[in-house]
Amino acid sequence: MWTWRLGRWVEWALLLVVFALVLMLVAAVLTSGGQGSAANVYSGAVFLSFLGAVGGLLGALHASGLLTWVAAVSERHRVFSIVVLLACALLLPFTSAGTEYWMTVAANIGVYAATAIGLNIVVGLAGLLDLGYVAFLGIGAFVAANLSGAAAAQLDISVPFPLVMVISAVVAGIFGAIVGSPTLRVRGDYLAIVTLAFGEIFVRSAQNNIGGLTGGSNAIPGIPALSLFGQSFNERLDIGGLRLAPGVLYYVLIVLIVAAVMLVFANLKNSRLGRAWIAIREDEDAARAMGVRTGPIKILAFLIGAMLAGLAGAFFAHKTATVSYESFRFLESVTLLAAVILGGMGTIPGAVLGASILFVLPEKLREFSDYRLLLFGIALVLIMRFRPQGLVPDAHRRAELAPETVDEPPPPPPSTAGAGAKAGQA
């Protein structure tokens, strides 16, 4: 194991280099095998081999302990890492991936990453299986669509976007609390069925244009693009001599939203509330015996998770310009759940990575058309076979697999030393 500690500046510089490399790697992975839609019969294959190489490289680095060491370094400089990572994310438009196509894909990834992090509160922290979660994204999107002043919307008002985000989140949160309330009575599989039913009710209602709010099968088209100081988010952006692809502003906005969602998740996880969620996941009866009022706390998990999804939904409505019930079907819920489990339950990088993989892979494998979903499925099965704990497992789950910790002396032999220490102090 690697245990070096270098000077602070050296470690900072090192992190900077690492994150810069990550940025380049992401850009390279995205654009490998040609720029997206470009007609190149081999691009899917090139991408896959490239991905294999990157995966192999990361695997080797991980095996050598270098990755673990870098993770430990970045943990020591948490704030610095976050700032640099955010900066790197914002620099992506300046790389070869800074095309309109990839900015759109990245914005979509952002939407699902934010939603997956919300779902991660419910599933990863509180341990409650939710199979209809994408409905909250849909609720947020439909609320935003109706408040956007679009011609097809039922309400003829146009509310400023920051306020729309709040309203979407609150409305989705209220529905989240309603859906979560059965958790007071049902557990496990039965809860999963209740949430599944809710997702289905949402889709059917939206399909039938309930209250004229969802546009039914016509959807709600023509949602105006966001704009700031007269600069439409949809158009090309010129800063000085720099010319940035259309959609870059959306990308920047979603990066900020995802960052905010991450902050919410991380802060809640390390609080009284977050520990109560995890305790419920671990052993609900024991949690109650420790004074955790499990009912309200489980509902709070649903409520907050749904709010985050609703927030992402508001963005989604403006970004895609059309909101249709078709975007929020069961398959999407399953994909989100897969993103959470694939990435690693209860972790932020896991949810983001999971969402990225699940939405980039299908894009990249477009050339395989008919076999696309098959390959995708095989990839999922392989990952779960060889890394069941997820790609970026929770530190705790990781510790399970490698009990010896880095900085501490190995624990003394169990019981005898323990009793000695005890007797000594009692």
Binding site: D394, G418, A423
Partner: protein
């Protein structure tokens, strides 16, 4: 003899200084009567031992005393008022417990387990949790300090960052005690705290329970190891087939012919086992509520 070691069915009127009292508690599961008209009172600063053969209803009594089960008939009072029918609220009001089959939060560290025990005594609104403001940080610091003290108290400081599931068996039992103490209880209920421990660990646990009593916490201990109980407790209750057979000081109970019969009536190897605290029926596997 009959003077002092009374059968307790003629009730313990809740008296001054009584924290937790059961009166006429009966618990039935379908046709099975697990507890039959059990009454007793736990006084301040007291250690009570609860013994009895496997299946006597000891754990069931604990479950009734913590709001996990509501008795079929009879009542439990805490400080003179009826016990809430919700384990979380019972804990808020000062009754904490451990479980016979250890129930820690396995994927949380020892420190986090104890922090969950702090849950009821911490004040954090969701907004402050979200922003990690000064009030939040103060409450986290207070909880962390308290947790460190409790881990030191039970002798687990070196394991504070270790996952609960990786702790040696005996230390898991100690961690459960620390977690229960974190709720600031006035009453602590320990369900077989030395099961599976060697002699040395058992002795350490005995000292630990004395130390807990010295903190002003009243304790009820279930144990099969009668030697352990007789050297630890101020009073001993003997539960046989759901009935409180005998109550008295260790000396009284030890000499009581009914107790001797209840234990000696059993096959010899079982008496042997129970005296040495070995659980011949393997009650570890039994899951409670």
């Amino acid at each position: 003899m009959n003077e002092s070691a009374t059968t307790v069915t003629d009730a313990v009127a809740p008296q001054r200084g009584t924290l937790l009292a059961a009166s006429g508690v009966t618990m039935q599961f379908g046709g099975l009567t697990a507890l039959n008209d059990v009454s007793f009172g736990l006084r301040e600063g007291e250690i009570i031992g609860l013994i009895g053969p496997n299946g006597a209803g000891k754990t069931t009594l604990f479950n009734c005393l913590t709001g996990l089960y509501s008795p079929t008939s009879g009542a439990v009072t805490l400080n003179g008022s009826p016990l809430p029918q919700d384990p979380a609220r019972v804990t808020e009001q000062g009754v904490a417990r451990t479980f016979q089959n250890i129930r820690l939060f396995p994927s949380m560290t020892a420190e986090e387990n104890v922090l969950v025990g702090r849950h009821v005594r911490m004040k954090q609104n969701p907004l402050s949790s979200l922003l990690h403001g000064p009030g939040f940080r103060r409450s986290e610091a207070e909880a962390a300090e308290r947790t460190a003290k409790l881990l030191a108290f039970v002798g687990l400081t070196r394991f504070s960052d270790e996952l609960a599931r990786n702790l040696p068996y005996g230390d898991q039992r100690r961690l459960e005690i620390a977690r229960a103490l974190a709720t600031d209880p006035s009453v602590l209920l320990l369900d077989e705290p030395t099961a599976g421990m060697n002699a040395q660990e058992t002795e350490a646990t005995r000292q630990l329970i004395f130390a807990i009593r010295d903190l002003g916490i009243s304790v009820v201990v279930i144990e099969h190891d009668t030697k352990f109980i007789f050297t630890l407790c101020d009073r001993v209750l003997v539960l046989v087939q759901g009935q409180l057979l005998v109550e008295g000081t260790p000396d009284e109970v030890r000499g009581d012919p009914r107790v001797v019969e209840a234990y000696l009536g059993a096959p010899p190897e079982e008496v042997e086992a129970q005296v040495h605290g070995v659980d011949v029926h393997g009650s570890e596997g039994q899951e409670q509520g």
